[in-house]
Symmetry: C2
Subunit: 210 residues, 2 copies
């Protein structure tokens, strides 16, 4: 239970209050094997959840059967929380890319919810909304090189420090709306041009962006 106190949803709440909300929200921990689908695009859901461990991806499938990665979720992040208060169906399919543990919540009765919890919820929604806007910003950059650079710069914690991205090349290409081979090619070029260095999913930006 102690791990719950670290969750953003319960930030600033006493263990007792958390305990109570866990009952109200019908919290339920489950194990989710790699490859499982937690939420399916186009379907309504009344539950949301928090990823306790593992790695999720939000994906869309286009009419040609192509898979497009929209989001990645790492431990501690929440999902579906916007959905449950709206009449809209899920915009993405949520898939476990590794084995996961998930805390399911809901259905949620707003009138019985702690006001601090709602505040936390809105905060979380704000962050997610922001992340979507980031993705849109990347999308709208025409030049692949600039797009890659924009993304990597945002991931960089401090200048010149190596950092990792939550994708393999395929996922990264998909997230950045690019072809995998085109991404590989451009990364090679950027390495050649001394802009960055990388190995697998670890990157390091070297000098000024051009």
């Amino acid at each position: 239970m102690t791990e719950l106190t670290n969750l953003a949803l319960f930030a600033g709440m006493s263990p007792a209050a958390i305990e109570e909300q866990m009952t109200v929200l019908r919290g339920q921990k489950t194990s989710v094997p790699k490859g499982s689908v937690l939420i399916r695009e186009g379907e309504r859901t009344e539950r949301c959840g928090i990823l306790l461990s593992g790695h999720l991806q939000g994906q869309q499938i286009d009419e040609d059967g192509g898979l497009s990665v929209i989001t990645t979720l790492s431990a501690g992040m929440m999902f579906g929380e916007i959905l449950i208060f709206s009449d809209r169906p899920a915009p993405v399919t949520l898939t476990a890319v590794t084995d996961c543990r998930v805390l399911w919540l809901g259905p949620v009765d707003l009138s019985r919810a702690d006001s601090r919890l709602i505040q936390n919820l809105l905060n979380i929604i704000g962050k997610e909304y922001w992340a979507l806007h980031q993705k849109i910003r990347y999308c709208s950059i025409v030049s692949l090189r600039k797009r890659i650079l924009a993304y990597l710069s945002d991931r960089e914690k401090s200048p010149n420090e190596p950092f990792s991205v939550p994708f393999d090349r395929n996922g990264m290409a998909s997230y950045l709306n690019a072809d995998r081979s085109a991404l590989s090619r451009e990364l090679s070029r950027m390495k050649r041009d001394g802009i960055l260095d990388y190995h697998k999913n670890r990157f390091r930006l070297t000098e000024k962006k051009l």
Copy 2:
């Protein structure tokens, strides 16, 4: 005051309750001339608002000074409501593309907010979130023709019926992440191919999409 009862934020609330919340939320109607900036990208804001009349656009400016249209808002829609509960700065600049009337709200004290109001708020947020996902879906379609078609199909209310888009060509191109002339060219071709017909910002989809 009566126009307030039609707003999604106050849905299902009594005139008296609305009146009260208007005080709590410090509602304030203002006129906003065309071209004004309501929220500036990168800045924090403590107020949100509802567009009573006119037309707004959410825009991002990329590093090359290019303008990218992210959203359009028409009368009745809310803006900034996600922002005020999060510590993130505004992801877009909100600009009045026509003269507008705006109802400003905030700062908001969650603990004094009507629970129905919060429910409405979450609902509105859900819709906006969904709209963003739509835009992302369009972005991730590589073929310009298919991208246009996806967008127009979503706007079409019923088959074969004409409908309008809330953009001029420039805005539409920007929203669809395309070059204006490329969009014009592709629209011409699609008209030639009998896929659609249009005049200015009114469109009509004719036969099956290919």
